[in-house]
């Protein structure tokens, strides 16, 4: 068994692209986890005088002389189209400290550092992306965890017991499957009150995503359970008086793990996209709490994009995340498929 595990690992690590993607995902999750430390400003720390301020950096030279790190202050003038033009105010300097006050980069008030630019209310986009990752990345994991628990359980029970239990459970699955996913999402969303706070909305989105996703998995697991329950070791376990529930959990479901694992990796991006879609339409996480989806609402009109293209960056982050999940899931499928491994070696 251990040798098989090392075979899977070595087959996976032979795919350089997948390994890189796994590292990227790991980095994204780590960033989200330590968001309060890594972000420069709080996600709701706004300065309307700095609306759509372009990206700024930490300065090390003042008038050609090396200096302790600092940021310049900014003020704006208007151009002929009455658009704001930001200029550096060389008189105002705010010191920057690293690893200070529990933050990686600490800027003294009221100085502001916009690594990826600012949004319409002058909030730091980088900090908001990092905080938004907490919502968007965890919703995928949590949603998949719930829907897979449900799907595995229902599929296992339906396949193992068969008969009328199977028939009833599968008809319920089909009821969930026959409605197109996104409309079901909207319908379920409209069924709950709109004045939820962000924690309630978060829980609601997770529950809705899980409700939509479990049915198709349950059907596939049922099919696997149908064939697995005829194995001799299931008969042997039954014979030895092992309770049915234990047989399902120990002798049926573990044999579906290679399929479930890959399916999980390929389902998470769908959940992240669904959350983004809901939030983009204003039905999901509400401002000022950021998620990658509602960060993109600012980029729905062409005018802001034309003079502040950095507001598209959350979309790029979503794109990278989803590509990474798919590449990793794909490599995992190949690594877990013993037939494919031998094919590649010959």
């Amino acid at each position: 068994m251990s040798s098989q595990w090392s075979m899977i690992v070595s087959s996976f690590s032979r795919r350089k692209g997948a390994v890189i993607c796994l590292w990227i995902l790991g980095a994204l999750y780590l960033l989200a986890l330590i968001a309060p430390c890594i972000s420069v400003h709080r996600y709701d720390d706004e300065d309307r005088n700095l609306s759509y301020c372009p990206p700024t950096t930490v300065e090390f030279f003042h008038n050609g002389h090396l200096s302790a790190p600092f940021v310049y202050g900014r003020h704006f003038t208007f151009d002929e189209f009455h658009r704001r033009i930001y200029v550096m105010d060389k008189e105002k300097r705010y010191p920057v400290r690293f690893f200070s006050q529990g933050q990686l980069i600490h800027v003294q008030e009221p100085g502001r550092l916009y690594l990826l630019g600012a949004d319409s209310r002058g909030r730091d986009l980088f900090s908001r992306i990092v905080y938004g990752g907490r919502v968007s990345l965890s919703i995928g994991l949590l949603g998949v965890f719930i829907s897979f628990s449900l799907g595995l359980l229902v599929g296992g029970i339906a396949g193992y017991f068969g008969g009328w239990i199977d028939a009833v459970l599968m008809r319920i699955c089909e009821m969930f499957m026959l409605v197109p996913g996104f409309y079901l999402l909207l319908a379920l969303r409209s069924a709950v009150p709109e004045n939820f706070n962000s924690v309630q909305v978060y829980v609601m989105i997770v529950v809705i995503l899980a409700l939509i996703g479990w049915a198709s998995l349950a059907r596939i697991i049922r099919g696997m359970a149908l064939s697995l329950k005829n194995r001799d070791y299931v008969a042997a376990a039954k014979l030895l008086g092992v309770p049915d529930v234990v047989i399902i959990i120990r002798h049926i479901l573990p044999h579906t793990v290679s399929y479930s694992l890959v399916a999980m990796m390929l389902t998470i991006p769908g959940y992240i996209l669904s959350e983004s879609g809901l939030s983009l339409l204003g039905l999901g996480i509400q401002d000022p709490v950021p998620s990658w989806g509602n960060l993109l609402t600012e980029a729905m009109a062409i005018v802001p994009i034309s003079f502040a293209p950095w507001i598209l960056i959350p979309g790029l982050v979503i794109f990278v995340t989803i590509v990474c999940f798919n590449v990793v899931g794909d490599a995992l499928r190949d690594a877990l498929d013993p037939m494919l491994v031998t094919d590649r070696n010959t």
């Binding site: 068994m1 070791y233 008969a235 376990a237 030895l240 008086g241 092992v242 120990r250």
Partner: protein, 254 residues
């Protein structure tokens, strides 16, 4: 002689076809009874119906199976679960497929013990070692930590027997228990079964297609064909003086 298992007028159907036709057989306690027959003679069905493990398509149309005064066919499933594995053990033909490939031998033996006893983890561990030793496995700890595919056929079959006897059963059903083994291992397993029968007084229902093997091991032999028991008697009698045409044909083929 006390009877441990009494099969009376058992008829099993698939649709309109009779798989077992009014079969009666009683197993005296402490004896080894052999059942011989060709493929499709109903011998495996007979073994499975004792444990109420028939495939869903098969239906018991009539008859009763009395074990320790209770009719197994009429027993509710919780009560049946106490008897299966605990009072009646089963040895399967192919031990590789009868063990879950994802778990070690020890874990699967432990599962049976955990389902039937209230023993503590350490006590269960000791019991597993003891049982593995009793089926002539030299280093029980290593075998308990092995996965089924890591063992040889003979060792696997011993582990299978260990699983069958770990609950301390009074009756073991061995369905083609030695058919997948080579002849020398087969002889060792047969001797092991004989020893279990003599030392622990476990009755054995030994199902096989090999008349020579069965008559060597069993005290009494039943010959089955087309769902009927056509001949029943002492093993030597049947070998030396077969009455039924099918038995004669079987002997000739052998």
């Amino acid at each position: 002689m006390k009877t441990i298992l009494d099969i009376k007028n058992l008829t099993v159907n698939v649709g309109q076809d009779k798989i077992l036709n009014n079969v009666s057989l009683s197993i005296p306690s402490g004896k080894i009874i052999g059942i011989v027959g060709g493929s499709g003679s109903g011998k495996t069905t007979l073994g499975l119906s004792v444990l109420n493990l028939l495939p869903t398509a098969m239906r018991v149309a009539a008859g009763s199976i009395i074990f320790e005064g209770k009719d197994l066919l009429a027993l509710p499933s919780p009560a049946l679960r106490c008897i299966r594995g605990f009072k009646i053990g089963m040895i399967f033909q192919e031990p590789l497929s009868a063990f879950d490939p994802l778990f070690t031998i020890g874990a699967q033996l432990d599962e049976t013990l955990a389902a039937h006893t209230t023993l503590h983890v350490n006590q269960r561990h000791e019991k597993i070692s003891a049982v593995l030793k009793s089926v002539e496995i030299e280093d029980p700890d290593r075998i308990a930590d092995s996965y089924p595919h890591e063992l040889s056929g003979g060792l696997r079959q011993r582990a299978m027997i260990a699983q069958a006897i770990i609950g301390g059963p009074r009756l073991i059903i061995a369905d083609e228990a030695t058919s997948s083994l080579d002849v020398t291992i087969q002889a060792k397993i047969i001797r092991l079964l004989q020893r279990l029968n003599q030392e622990q007084g476990i009755s054995i229902l030994f199902i096989a297609h090999d008349l020579g093997l069965v008559s060597f091991l069993a005290h009494e032999v039943a010959v089955m064909t087309q769902g009927n028991i056509v001949e029943y008697g002492q093993a030597q009698e049947i070998l030396n003086d077969p009455k039924h045409d099918y038995t004669k044909a079987l002997l000739k083929a052998y």
